[in-house]
């Protein structure tokens, strides 16, 4: 177990190093610091100003290690900064990136945590229901509705909900955010509705196939043969044994809750990490974007290790070696 954990962690660190190398190639060699400076300052600035800007943002060292500059180069700096969480200042507006990320985390979580919970609480019971009525018209109808729901672009859900609920019915504000817990419910209602709607088709379909696969197994047939009720089979046999594929999907999603939702946040005016990322895209802010990719992959690697470990907890047959 311990040996497994150590091996798994080492591999995780390797992957994070790989991600950092990829980001370096993308953000330092494919676009050079000079390009970034010109994007921030404008095309027609004198070279001296560009050099000054690069010095201010810590981009003024040679890119690769060489004689006399084994540690004073951008590659080393890039790894050092990212691994010590010293993200520096934004390319576009000079604000400290770490501070922006800290301030964006809470608004993101206030949206994504309830969204995550609500999605699970609607999709899993619905999928169980559909799987319970398998090979009937209810099942077929459920699948068709899921595919219909999946085929609508999330943009249309957002536009539709804002227009119908916000503008025609005036039930909820169209966008905005407030830290006051009483007001926040009104602001979150619409993004939550859209988020659940946009995900539910794919989720129900996925969980349904998982449940159906489990209900074709021998022990389910045995249970049925000895006279177990269908409801009891679903709850005790099918659902419990489906936990492994469910957990894979669920635990892996948890770390990403911190990242917020790019579209929902930027649309509904929630000042979370997703909205920060969208601002970075619109402002050509490479430093923020690269930090977000890095944090995202850190969370993913972490989530994957937790998922692997959780298999052992859910299913005693799994040995972690």
């Amino acid at each position: 177990m311990l040996a497994y954990l150590v091996r798994r962690l080492t591999y995780g660190v390797g992957v994070v190093f790989g991600v950092l190398l990829f980001l370096f190639v993308l953000f330092f060699t494919v676009t050079s610091p000079d390009d970034v400076a010109r994007k921030a300052l404008g095309e027609r600035v004198p070279p001296a100003v560009i050099e000054q800007w690069k010095a201010n943002h810590g981009y003024d060292q040679p890119l690769f290690p060489g004689p006399g500059a084994w540690t004073e180069n951008m590659l080393f700096e890039h790894y050092r900064r990212m691994l010590t969480f010293d993200f520096g200042r934004s390319d576009a507006d000079d604000t400290p990136i770490a501070q922006r990320i800290r301030s964006g985390m809470m608004p993101s979580l206030t949206l994504t945590l309830p969204l995550f919970g609500l999605s699970l609480l609607t999709a899993i019971p619905l999928a169980l229901l559909v799987a319970f009525f398998r090979e009937t018209y209810i099942d077929r109808l459920g699948v068709v509705i899921s595919v219909l729901a999946m085929s609508v672009s999330i943009l249309l859900y957002i536009i539709g909900a804002q227009y119908v609920v916000g503008r025609l019915l005036h039930w909820f504000p169209i966008s905005g955010f407030d830290s006051d817990p009483q007001l926040i419910v009104r602001f979150l209602a619409l993004p939550l509705l859209v988020g659940v709607l946009a995900g539910i088709g794919g989720d129900v379909r996925f969980y349904r196939t998982v449940f159906l696969e489990e209900s074709n197994t021998d022990y389910v047939r045995t249970a049925r043969a000895k006279g177990c009720g269908e409801g009891r089979i679903m709850a005790r046999h099918v659902f419990r044994n489906s936990l492994i594929p469910l957990l894979t999907r669920i635990i892996l999603a948890i770390p990403f809750l911190f990242m917020g939702s790019l579209l929902l946040e930027s649309f509904f005016g929630i000042p979370g990490l997703g909205a920060i990322t969208v601002d970075a895209i619109q402002g050509n802010d490479f430093s923020v974007l690269r930090t977000m990719v890095y944090i995202g992959s850190l969370l993913f690697v972490f989530g994957q290790i937790v998922t692997d470990l959780s298999y052992g907890l859910v299913d005693p047959r799994v040995r972690l070696e």
Binding site: Y11, G14, V15, V16, G18, V19, F22, L23, L26, F27, V30, T31, V147, L148, M150, S151, V152, S153, I154, L155, L156, I159, Q162, Y163, R167, F206, T209, E213, F256, M259, L262, L263, T277, V278, I281, Q282, N284, F286, L289, R290, M292, V293, G296, S297, F300, V301, Q304
Partner: protein, 340 residues
Amino acid sequence: MEAHIVSNAVVGVLLVGLAALVVGVRRSRLWSDAFREIWVRRRGAICVIALYLTVALLDSIAWVGGMADGKDAVARHQAQSLIDRLFVDSQERSYSAPLAAHEFYGGAPLERPGSHLLGTDLIGRDVFYLSLKGARVALLIGGLTSLLAIPLALLFGVPAGYFGGRLDDVVFFVMSTLASMPGLLLLIALIMVLGKSTLAICFALAVTGWVGFCRVARGETLKLRELEYVSAARALGVSESRILLRHILPNLMHLVIITFVLMFSGLVLSEAILSWLGIGVDGSWGQMIDQARNELSRDPVVWWNVAAAGAALFGLILSVNFVGDALRDTLDPRTIREAE
């Protein structure tokens, strides 16, 4: 060489490829039976896809000249597709509702009253025309990206699964690295660095999309490698490359087809999101939906632009999803689901 000639040539090559594929399918008992079953189950959806394909094809064949003397002098010297030619001189000055005779705001008379089936947009372009042109963009994004991603995935996944060892370790590490970056963020980062051309966007989509299929291809190859007929071929002294090409690759083809179809709808939907973020492909439905941001907050509301683009997008994705489902059920009920 001029752009439209290249594009015509590409269309020609694709058509020849498609014809070869159809002939190949008809020759094989297995494949023709499978496709007959899908045709029976999903006739409607297949017809809808064929309609989109036809529109995209008509919009892809372009040539210069041969236009009647219209007001649009510029268009006569540019390459125009069949669809462009049908809508020549359809430009008005501003918004007009479907089949209206006057402009939507202000009420000035239109140049061609009642001819705009789905109205016109902000700068007076016919919305029906733009919706038709969107089909080509959507199919281009889905098709080109798949043509890049699937061969890439096979190129790395199959040898990794077959030979194992160091090669497998390296491929697996690259896959884990790419997969650990949040998909949409990686996509955005790539596009911002590589530029916003159609090719760059398709390349970025391919880089983020090939990993999923690479994992499937590797896993399936691992299984196939252990089968008796592969061992038999090896024992008979068949070379490794021949085993890969003759015994492994053909048995992955059903996965290629399923992945292609399932990937396609995801790609087109991703492009819509990219358009929304301002980094999409020009002329896509996503860009038309993007304009709805301003249009729906006007008073009275301009609804036909977003409705047309949304319906066109929904129709394509829905029929592709339905066909994809049927394909998966018919060709392979298990493997792909495990990879999700």
